[in-house]
């Protein structure tokens, strides 16, 4: 469905942010993108949604395709019309607008016949947004703003949702809730590319994961495999699997993953 092939990205003339990154996302799949600060996770999402230009970046080689259509040659509005939506890092809700208006902006590019169903789905996922529909978005709590940012993107009834650090700055309880929401969204048939620093949550909710290191794809595999990987545990899980639910599970054989070959 979504195919990223040998994508390289540069900011300005000097900063090479991504080098030949390749992976794909199948229909209805959740793929987590892990990596430390500056690894190129957000850059990858920007390359997919064609919003690099906002940050003075450019795709120097490679391609991004959705169901066979090249996305890297389209403008962001055309990509949204193909129902690929991004939830940017830091929520970026429209603070002066009401919750309701934020959602309506999310539905601007949606087909009219899909809007009512999409809104019902958003209110079902996030009842708090219905309760606070007349409230300015800037007055919502951090968690509620994150829900609004996700709900706003869902107004387009996306086939692919790009989530950029949805747990950033949230309390642990809320992080778990965001994880459950990702699962619920995916259960509705939406494929999700989840960029996260919270590897524990990301690996819980994703089917597969890729790891970026300094702009290069270092590891790739199923989430279960990566969760069991010593490298991932050491680098991203604090040296141990910190999931409560995994403590009771039988120990799995640890495997060293090979690098992704595209």
């Amino acid at each position: 469905m979504l195919k990223i092939e040998n994508v390289s990205v540069r900011y300005g003339r000097a900063v090479q942010a991504l080098h030949d990154v390749s992976f794909d996302v199948a229909d209805g799949e959740v793929v987590a993108v892990l990596g430390s600060n500056g690894a190129g996770k957000s850059t990858l999402l920007r390359a997919i949604s064609a919003t690099l230009a906002l940050h003075r970046g450019t795709v120097t080689s490679g391609s991004v395709t959705l169901d066979g259509t090249r996305l890297d040659t389209l403008d962001p509005a055309a990509i949204v019309r193909r129902r690929l939506m991004q939830v940017p890092e830091g929520r970026q809700v429209f603070g002066r607008m009401t919750v309701e208006e934020n959602l309506r902006v999310g539905g601007l590019a949606a087909e009219p016949k899909r809007r009512a169903a999409a809104k019902a789905r958003v209110h079902e996922l996030f009842p708090v947004l219905a309760d606070r529909s007349a409230q300015p978005a800037g007055l919502l709590s951090g968690g509620e703003q994150q829900m609004l940012a996700i709900g706003r993107a869902l107004m387009c009834d996306p086939v692919v949702l790009l989530l950029d650090e949805p747990s950033l700055g949230l309390a642990p309880q809320l992080i778990q809730r965001i994880g459950r929401i990702v699962t619920e969204i995916n259960a509705g048939g939406t494929a999700v590319v989840l960029v996260e620093q919270n590897a524990s949550m990301a690996l819980q909710v994703s089917h597969r994961a890729v790891v970026l290191e300094v702009g290069r794809l270092a590891l790739a595999g199923s989430s279960a495999e990566l969760a069991a990987s010593e490298d991932v545990q050491r680098l991203y899980l604090g040296g141990h699997a910190d999931d409560a639910h995994e403590t009771d599970a039988p120990a799995r054989p640890r495997r060293i993953l090979s690098a992704w070959k595209g």
């Binding site: 906002l54 962001p76 509005a77 939506m85 429209f94 002066r96 607008m97 009401t98 601007l108 993107a153």
Partner: protein, 399 residues
């Protein structure tokens, strides 16, 4: 009713005038395009209020003296232009100091399209109603042609870039007298003639309740109709998809982009719409001066000068950025005060012309008043008079 001539009420710069605060902005009191809740009874009441307003506007010329009608029509000219500017600045977040340039574009376009090509002037002799529509369309097109600049610049950079258009317009009007008329005598455009009804009729043959319906009365109706149409079109834009896209761009360009809003396109659309409103106001200015189109001798004073561009900016700041009702009230304050003060104090606004240069003339008092208002509003109520009105209404409802 006195049949006062328009020149009697002309301000010294012809750039500041007006009164009228009948507008209530009941459709969307937040001025931000919030969707009002659908409520049949409230909806019916709202339509009744609008109907009552139309009846009042129809009756006003029959009972109001001619000079007050002249002041009112000048305010409505400002109101139409200010509604365009408040959409651009308040809704789309784009600063423009080029509003007086687009007034000139509208005025020149209408004059060239509607008048005959006589006395060495360029003229196409088209029907006046068609000329009006085309003049508005041309103004919008010129605004859209500014897209490479308006789509990429923001804030003070766009303000300064747009200001250059005022200088360009001033220079072009001076070097093209066959199109814009000379700075000394100008040129004349035809009055609007709609199905044989001449809105500039000076020797009236029509009378209602014994009141002869002459130029002042006819122009009042015409201007009121145009202002109402301009208001409803703007209301539709602000409350609709276009308005939401503008506000998204204003609040966060990056977030708007990932929502599928084309930022450059929306900025250009906002500039074009605002220019169309200014173009309509420009045609109204020409009619208000008895069809006279006269370029300014100096770029900083006159009908299409930088002073007028700033006056329009003052209107939308005083009224409350983004509020259509506020724009109308702002126009009443900025355009109405210099004409209404002598009317109320001396019964004749022609006194505006005779005030000494160093005296506290109505114009000087107005400049001081709206300068002080801007400072007070920025300091204490950034939402402008519209926000003040909303707060007062809410307090009255509570008590």
């Amino acid at each position: 009713m006195s049949e006062t001539t328009r020149a009697e009420a002309t301000g010294p710069t012809a750039g500041a005038t007006g009164v009228d605060a009948a507008e209530t902005d009941s459709a969307a009191p937040d001025g931000q395009g919030g969707m009002p809740a659908v409520h049949p009874r409230r909806d019916r009441r709202r339509w009744l209020l609008w109907g009552a307003l139309v009846v009042v506007l129809f009756l006003v010329p029959i009972y109001l003296p001619g000079q007050y009608l002249i002041v009112s029509t000048w305010v409505m000219t400002g109101a139409v232009g200010a509604m365009g500017l408040t959409m651009l600045i308040g809704q789309a977040g784009q600063l423009s100091l080029a509003h007086s340039f687009f007034l000139l574009v509208g005025g020149v376009s209408y004059t060239v399209l509607s008048s005959d090509g006589t006395d060495g002037f360029v003229g196409l002799g088209l029907p006046t109603a068609l000329s009006l529509v085309l003049a508005v369309a041309i103004s919008a097109a010129v605004g859209a042609a500014f897209a490479p600049v308006s789509g990429r610049l923001t804030g003070i950079y766009l303000g300064v870039a747009s200001l250059s258009l005022v200088f360009l317009g001033w220079w072009l009007a001076r070097v093209l007298p066959s199109i814009a008329g000379s700075t000394s005598s100008g040129r004349y455009a035809d009055d609007l003639n709609l199905f044989g009804f001449d809105f500039g009729e000076k020797s009236p043959t029509l009378a209602i309740l014994g009141v002869p319906i002459g130029q002042n009365e006819r122009l009042f109706w015409l201007y009121a109709a145009l202002t109402l149409i301009a208001y409803f079109v703007a209301r539709g834009a602000v409350d609709g998809r276009v308005g939401r896209a503008w506000r998204a761009v204003r609040d966060n360009e990056a977030a708007a982009t990932v929502m599928g809003v084309s930022v450059v396109r929306q900025k250009s659309v906002a500039f074009a719409v605002s220019s169309a409103y200014a173009g309509l106001a420009g045609v109204m200015v020409v009619w208000w001066y008895d069809g006279l189109l006269k370029p300014d001798e100096a770029v900083d004073s006159g009908t299409y000068s930088t002073a007028v561009a700033i006056a329009y900016l003052a209107m939308v700041v005083i009224g409350g950025l983004g509020s259509l009702g506020g724009a109308i009230v702002g126009a009443a304050v900025v355009f109405g005060t210099p004409l209404i003060i002598p009317l109320l104090s001396q019964g004749d606004s022609s006194a505006v012309l005779s005030s000494g240069g160093t005296a506290f003339s109505p114009v000087v008092i107005t400049y001081l008043a709206y300068g002080a208002l801007i400072v007070l509003i920025v300091l204490f109520e950034p939402g402008g008079l519209a926000a003040l009105g909303r707060r007062l209404t809410a307090r009255l409802k509570r008590s």
